[in-house]
Symmetry: C2
Amino acid sequence: MSPKVPDQHKEQRQREILSASKKVFAKKGYEATSIKDIMEATGISRGGIYDYFSNKEHIFLSLLEQSMEDNRKEIDTLLQKNNGSVWKTLLAIWDDYREAKNEDKEDSFSAAIIEYGIAHWRKPENRGYIENRYGKAAGIFSSLIQKGIDNGEFDPVTSVDDISRFMISFLDGIAISAITLTHGFMQTGKQIDLFENSMKSMLNVKEPDLSQR
Amino acid sequence: MSPKVPDQHKEQRQREILSASKKVFAKKGYEATSIKDIMEATGISRGGIYDYFSNKEHIFLSLLEQSMEDNRKEIDTLLQKNNGSVWKTLLAIWDDYREAKNEDKEDSFSAAIIEYGIAHWRKPENRGYIENRYGKAAGIFSSLIQKGIDNGEFDPVTSVDDISRFMISFLDGIAISAITLTHGFMQTGKQIDLFENSMKSMLNVKEPDLSQR
DNA sequence: TATAATAACGACAAGGGTGTCATTTTTGTA
DNA sequence: TACAAAAATGACACCCTTGTCGTTATTATA
């Protein structure tokens, strides 16, 4: 004679599915992952999964959204950690690309994201998500750079948006190679060094490079 | 009482299959393409396809090899067309990324290549092809830059290999965005401009930029 | 024109993935 | 303890793809 479920037990269940399937996507990639894999990873039955998500793509897109939010927060954290220095924050962001990518490569959810994008851009109904992701990333970096300008850290000659996009392109490229190729094959560190130099002159960084890295 | 086939009729048939399936891969992407699609595109029956190739991947890898060879030749051509000027050759290569990618985007075989790489790096047996591709590209660009040094066109501070890899990373990133995003969303031209500037100072280009573009 | 070698065909079986839904299990309340 | 509502289950029917292989069509020669 009354609702029989606990309260946000549902949310808990959803979170379980999401967290388990994120690992699966990271390990196997988007296409290669089947609902069966997710069932096994969560321990929930076939029908159970469908009670919470309508299909694999639905699960993935939820994870995508969550991941973007995580990234945004991560940058805020870094900014605080570096006492508001945008340049140091950028260096910290890029540092992640140096080695880390090679270590936990086997569990790279980013790889799944790129795979999803590159395999699904042809269908108009997916474009929205893909552009949204790019747009958000560009926006975040743009406002970060703008903050640096307001700070007095930077004095770029070119448009903030263009620099932001340049940054994304390069980092995307690095991410792909880092994921795709075995360690040592490409000298990620060296490339990041060159990239930092480019960005430094592009942004016209004022700060003397005291503790560069 | 004698072999019943014309001579290199087989080769002709193979070429037919390859050329038709290249279009299909370009239009639909790697995963989304099925043998059925290739049958329809070539007009050859199911069994017929399997007489020449053992499976979809076999066809794709043949195309991949062919495409790498084409790229190599293309660069030689550009080099001649520019009277041996490496810098002008590089500018010409990069120019391809400015607009063209957006026009025939619907028929982008490069997209299929990247998709293949990002979706299959996890299987060790595929690593070979992927690394081979990267290695060859890096080699081509490295020797191109080296030629520029011998020419007296460049005088870079950093290693030729590192610059070559930096170039590949950025161009890969650009390619992905150009493919993935709708036209106008990202300002490819502007990014290439910034990239050219970076490369110019990285290579320490001697030539005055008379007919820059 | 007959024929033998072989190229081309297409029906088929097998495998795997998907989403549904009738049934069973669980759980909070009376 | 009883029970009703909701959660969880897993068998099922459907669809699509793959690679094979016995059969048919073609073709250069004699």
